[in-house]
Amino acid sequence: MIEFDRVNKRFEHHDALRDISLTIDAGEMVFLTGHSGAGKSTFLRLLMLLERASSGTLTVNGRDISKVGRRGIARYRREFGIVFQDHQLLFDRSVYDNVALPLEISGFSQRDIERRVRAALDKVGLLDRENAQPALLSGGEQQRVGIARAVVARPKILLADEPTGNLDPQLSAEIMSLFEAFNRVGVTVVIASHDLALISRLRHRIITLKGGRLVGGGGQG
């Protein structure tokens, strides 16, 4: 489903990723770990086409994504659900409207939107907060809204960059089990996290980066 083939990413004088080759299968759940600055975010940003690889080939769903042009980026990104550390919610609209945004972008009907938003909020346990303003929610709740928004359009791939970075261990564990639940129904999940204690308790492949190089988990899980 996702394949890195000798991928390099170079910023002016600095290699953020060096010679990364690995495959993530459909339906897999993997963690991406390493110290700060190891290249985890860069890895995910290349997948989302927020950055372009300096060399090497990145294949998603059998397609070389360097072929995706400027105009194709929006449509390409809709293939993913994306969860951010700072959740990137819009504070000028309700929880419901935040979660509905990807569906509006994709042009779903109001009826479908309503149904799907409720289902997504139900899954993250926030059905009763649909009219709340995100700013008034706790950090854990905000992150769950972010996850609901990421899965509402039922993407095949879910990417998360430090989704538990701002949460205490208890909430972090809850968020991770939420991701596992989505993975169980077939979603490919890639989570960048430096919280080794948390992720090593979960039984999934761990890809380790160090100074932009792949140092572990490159082989199949």
Binding site: R75, E104, I105, S106, R154, G186
Partner: protein, 322 residues
């Protein structure tokens, strides 16, 4: 926490299918949202509308003034004059006698005689061809009679008179003096050109004001644009609310401009009427009218949309997720 996924079958959901109904819905929503955001900042919105309104009202008002002026001009009785160029060999005395006979006609108010030398001097100063004429041996001009028709002579009778005079043996050529009409027409054309020129400048000003309004709106919603782009919103989706902001601001400005013109019209109509009364005219002033109001409003809308499209192309692309 509820982590059951019973309702959702798999992550392999249906792909997005763009539906007309959904598209229309989003348009309506974007239109309503943009309007609501503008109403939430009444002062800023009003300032924009007033600026755009003035920029549109001024050329519209001048244009209206000009329409009225040329309508008045076309109705004014033409104080036309006929110049009779007499035969080369007729003497000045013969010319004076001929003038006396003509003066007795009812359709002629007055006749004056212009000596050929005077005529040459007049011609020289009129045309600025002094030096050329000084080089001439002989005066090529004949004696000339200047005939002022009676006031009640209409266009047809005037032509009949000109025909009659042209048929007289003393007369070589009849020249209808229509210079003043040409002058008026040229003046009106000049002023119209000026109005078009200043109008274009004012509209350019309106476009800049509107484009700046859109730029500020884009800045204010930067976070939203970033998120939309992050989660796969296309240009069309991100652009839509701002195009509506431009459309509403333009329509509002156009409407306000129309109101300003109407106000200005009321303001000047009383003195304008007394002025027209002096000319004993039953002419009625032409206002903007419903068609004019609609036209100005639509024009405002078009300008707003155009400005927004320009601003969006310029600024939206620069906002990319980091």
């Amino acid at each position: 926490m509820n982590t059951k996924l019973s309702a959702q079958k798999t992550g392999l959901g249906l792909g997005p299918r763009p539906q007309l109904a959904a598209w229309v819905h989003h348009h309506r929503q974007a239109a309503a949202d943009s309007l609501q955001k503008m109403l939430m900042e009444p002062i800023a919105t009003l300032l924009t509308l007033v600026a755009v309104g003035i920029a549109l009202a001024l050329p519209a008002a001048l244009w209206l003034l000009l329409d009225n002026a040329s309508a008045v001009a076309s109705r004014v009785e033409a104080p036309t004059r006929l110049s009779l160029l007499l035969d080369d060999d007729s003497s000045f005395e013969a010319a004076e006698r001929f003038a006396d006979t003509l003066a007795t006609r009812v359709d002629i108010a007055a006749v004056s005689v212009l000596h050929r030398d005077e005529a040459l001097v007049l011609f020289a100063t009129d045309t600025g061809l002094d030096s050329l004429l000084q080089g001439l041996q002989d005066n090529p001009l004949p004696h000339t009679l200047l005939v002022t028709p009676a006031v009640d002579v209409g266009t047809e009778q005037l032509e009949a008179l000109a025909d009659f005079l042209g048929g007289r043996p003393e007369v070589d050529e009849v020249v209808l003096d229509t210079r003043w009409i040409a002058r008026l027409d040229t003046t009106i054309a000049l002023v119209r050109q000026l109005v078009v020129g200043t109008g274009a400048l004012m509209i350019l000003g309106a476009i800049l004001i509107l484009a700046n309004t859109i730029r500020l709106a884009i800045e204010a919603r930067r976070d939203e644009i970033v998120v939309i782009k992050l989660i796969g919103g296309g240009d069309g989706f991100a652009r839509r609310p701002f195009l509506y902001t431009g459309l509403w601001a333009g329509i509002g400005g156009g409407l306000l401009g129309a109101l300003l013109v109407l106000g200005l019209f009321l303001f000047v109509s009383a003195p304008a009427r007394s002025l027209l009364a002096l000319y004993d005219s039953d002419f009625t002033l032409q206002g903007l009218g419903l068609v004019g109001v609609i036209r100005l409003t639509l024009m405002g809308g078009a300008i707003g949309l155009l400005s927004a499209a320009q601003a969006v192309t310029l600024h939206l692309r620069r906002i990319e997720p980091r």
